[in-house]
Amino acid sequence: MFNLFISCISFFHKKFLVHLVPRPATGSLALDIFYLVILLGIQFNVIPSLLFFHHIDLLTIWLCYHFIVLAPAPALAMGLIAALMLENHSTVPEGTYICIYWILAIVLNLLRDHLSWRDYSPWLACFFIAGIGVFLFETIVTCVKTGDYGYFTLFIVAQKLLGITLSTLFGLALVQRHFLASGRDLT
């Protein structure tokens, strides 16, 4: 009976659950958008309930991977859709994430042919700087809205840096599994 139960769980996992684990740059835009939605759900619901309401920015790392690996047109489309989803899931001013992801996409697209992506260090630098860039942009927007810098205490900055570090580690794991180990190349 127990073996039957285990085999049912295993069948269900192989047939359905494994396809629900988000994979980047699948080659199909519809599937990429579907995985983007799942990642957003994980970022805004699963992680905050595990980490006492603090969230880690997985989406920026996910998009950086797409901006580097994919051709410009599908990467920009992904970036726009992700930015619209983030902005409608938050109370940030309209256009905040559209701006920052547009800049990120342009810069990475220009840089990608000049770096060797077969090593970890460019990925590490890219993810960390992207995370810092998004944080600084949000800071500027917040300071313009509130008119002062009082919100940004040492605790808040330390919290954000820890979040960026964790998301960078997530990015490195993503790169190891889906890019370096698989031997795929840039499109």
Binding site: V37, G41, F53, T91, E94, I98, C99, I106, K145, Y151
Partner: protein, 286 residues
Amino acid sequence: MLSAMVSPFVYFSSSLKPWQATRKFPFLLQEVLYPFEYFWNQSLNLVKGSWGTYFYLVDTAKENVVLKRKLALIEAEITDYEHQVQENSRLRKLLGFADRFNKSLIVAEIVGLSGDSPFQYLRINRGLDSLLKVGMPVLVGSGVVGRLLRIGSTFSDVQLIGDTSFNLDVIVERNRVRGVLKGIGDNRCRLLLHRHADIRINDTVVTSGITGSFPKGLPVGRVIRISYESDDVSQIITIQPWVDNYGLEEVILLRYSDPAIETISEIGGDKWLKDAVGTLSAQLHN
């Protein structure tokens, strides 16, 4: 390259406001995300509920005795209040006061929360199917939570009082000094008043009911810090809201209608009212 990087700033909203419910396409993607959020939230509540109800019962018996005693005291107080309400109603009729507003309450469950950034909001499980309107006040028993920002088909987003885009007209309960409360992130708000306004630590702040959709007298928060601007003209009051966002499971939406706004809307129509407000805002900015 520089022009490509600068071009999106043209689109960047100069009024720095969040997305409103009128933009249909971008919000449509949230309709796909909402079932995942709801499923996760319900699963979590089931686990928490099972643990609290069937396993973690250590202090339940003691709490039961204390609560029974409190209940008996409250029942006695309620009887007294009922007499006072009836007396108040009779006095108002005598003096010719009409009912200031009609209100009905809608209870909603919280499905998601983002509270650790300057952009704070809640997601609730009520949408267009519950006849909600953008701008409706959102409260709990202890005070104001925020305002309805966006409405989907079965869910809505609530802008919290600590969000940096949130503004509310308030008065200090003790001396009726009026000001505009602004969220500054981290579940804190700020009030900018004249330097000579008499404000003290622990003063209670309530809604003024003069502008906006919030009726008068709803508790907002208390004063926790007073500092002075270098211009020697104004003082900055930091307010701690009464409501702790992290402990919330349900909220109340208030169907409040200001009689004056309703009359204008009936006579001139909603479109005329929106145009008039838009023209007035443009003139004020100029």
